[in-house]
Amino acid sequence: MNRIQADVVIIGSGAGGGTIAQALAPLTADGKKVLVLEQGARLRDDEYTGVESDMARALYEDSGGFLTEQGTLTLAFGRTYGGSTAVYTGTSLIAPERVIRAWDVPDLDHDDIARRCRNFAAQNHVHLLPDDEINDNNRLFELGCRRIGLAAEQFPVNVNGCRGSSLCNLGCPNAAKMGTDRVQLPAAETAGVEVVTRAEALRIEERAVIARVSRPLDGEKGLPSAWEPGEYRIEASAVVVAGGAVGSPALLLRSGFGRLLPRLGEGFTCHPAFILVGEHEERITNDVGHPKSFYLDRAQEEGYVLETCMYFPFITAKNLTGFGPDHSALMKAFPRLQMILVLACDRAVPGNRVSVSGKGVTRVHYEFTPEVRSSLARATVMAARIFFAAGAVRVHAPLASPPLLTRGQADQLDQKISAHEFLPGRTSVSAAHLMGGCAMGRTPEDSVTDAWGRVHGVPWLRIGDSSLFPDSLEINPYLTIMALADRTAEALMGDSAALFDS
């Protein structure tokens, strides 16, 4: 086993890990060694081809289809330099005040989160796209909302030089999306932080990380690791875990911390989602232009959020319910399709959690609560209303039976769409906002860390990613994750004298 000495090891390079790497970079000026271990690869710019199956395999865990234990929900999360920020859409919202208040974490207040979010928004070039860059798919959503008396809000997005390829979720081919892969990690590396890709942390021991560096497989995208393939023991004064809401609790459970922290892995939420499509008579611009410009926030009133979206052929096919001629007919109407993503604001409930098997395999357990099913049904009715109001002639609604609704049925949506039609295993549901598993709180009995990512009872171990959320955020989470990660880094800097001298 190779041995390495470092001062801080950060595990994961996503929204959390990338932020922490940048915030801790000043330590390198004092001669401290800050390392980031990322299990995924770093791609060359010319490897972002927009080819769906190739990019999904190169950038996501399980190609974006990580299946829960129940086999009824797929989770999409990144496994690459930049983590999920390399594949996110870049919609940039600040956590609602009421959500942070309801989390009830001592020493965590909304003003602090909002201030940090605004800083990162500025750093990531967040702005509203001008009108002439918004495509029909997005305009029709706004129009449909307006026609039924609702006001869609425009998403601020973090793009710089966006050409409108619509391929954000396959990694931006134009280096225009300002994820940690484009902003925070390069800044950290320039300042002296070392980012080691293809380096998976296998276990955490007392002030040490055991990691395995792999070589690229034949034909695989991505650069080789800067380190030789093999096993490493990296000793460090502080270890920061930022492997995401699945990766972080799984790694800590695998390392035996579950004995000390009974809440580890618990409280997993994910905004379970599916897509609805509306078919128009004429072609619309949908697969060109930034995919996500508007949303309708009904979280507080009805437990859901609607967002515009546009996916690629396979993901679209997979997300539509059913198969056979009706399904094919919709797929052939692709140039006339408008899409809406409905997301349920799920709650942290007992049983929905991350665990590891006896062999160390990561498992996610997730059951759809009656509240989530009802939220999805209400959201489906609303999305169908918006489609018809925008002029769609047919709507494919997963919770309608049969799923295809015609304009003539537009006034019967409440009867046609029902939560009873939600059949796990038949209804295609996926999620990309993974949260919780190492929740912040007060004590080891109710949480894993304090409000600053300090793991209860283990001063050298910190968490800085989406796993810190004690409950769902009810809105797109990346800016809030960066804010929490920034707090983790700040606390670590504050404790550095004690950490580095011990």
Binding site: G71, T72, F312
Partner: protein, 133 residues
């Protein structure tokens, strides 16, 4: 281990045609392209899942023989769809999951082909607006 669909080729193709009727029009190289995409996806999954998928295809073929007296490949696409719809709506989660998994693989194989993307009018381009204006 990586699985080869060769051992269940006929029932697998019959299922694909039930899920995506247009796949019936694929020529042999088209089928190979579809199958290699599916095999590539399965190869990334644990061996147990690979084996379960092959087993499920075999069970569906047996079920077709038991119910209709013919293997899947000899049934009309409508009869295959009827069988799959029943299983998809079944009260047993395991059966619903199985159909969902197979359907996902068929869609992956079919809709990942560049020819398919063009045939459904999907035109996303790295150059974005510039490619359209």
């Amino acid at each position: 281990m990586s699985v080869s669909l060769g051992v269940v080729r006929d029932p697998f193709r019959a299922l694909c045609i039930a899920f995506v009727p247009e796949s019936a029009e694929l020529n042999e190289p088209g089928w190979r392209e579809l199958e290699s995409e599916v095999e590539r996806a399965l190869a990334d999954r644990p061996t147990a899942i690979q084996k379960q998928m092959v087993l499920l295809i075999r069970i569906l073929d047996l079920l077709a023989r038991a119910r209709h007296g013919n293997p899947l490949a000899a049934l009309t696409p409508a009869a295959r769809r009827e069988l799959l719809t029943r299983l998809q709506d079944s009260r047993w989660l395991l059966l619903r999951r199985g159909v969902w998994g197979l359907r996902t693989l068929a869609f992956l194989g079919y809709y990942s082909r560049p020819d398919t993307a063009a045939s459904i009018g999907y035109r996303a381009d790295l150059r974005g607006w510039e490619a359209r204006r």
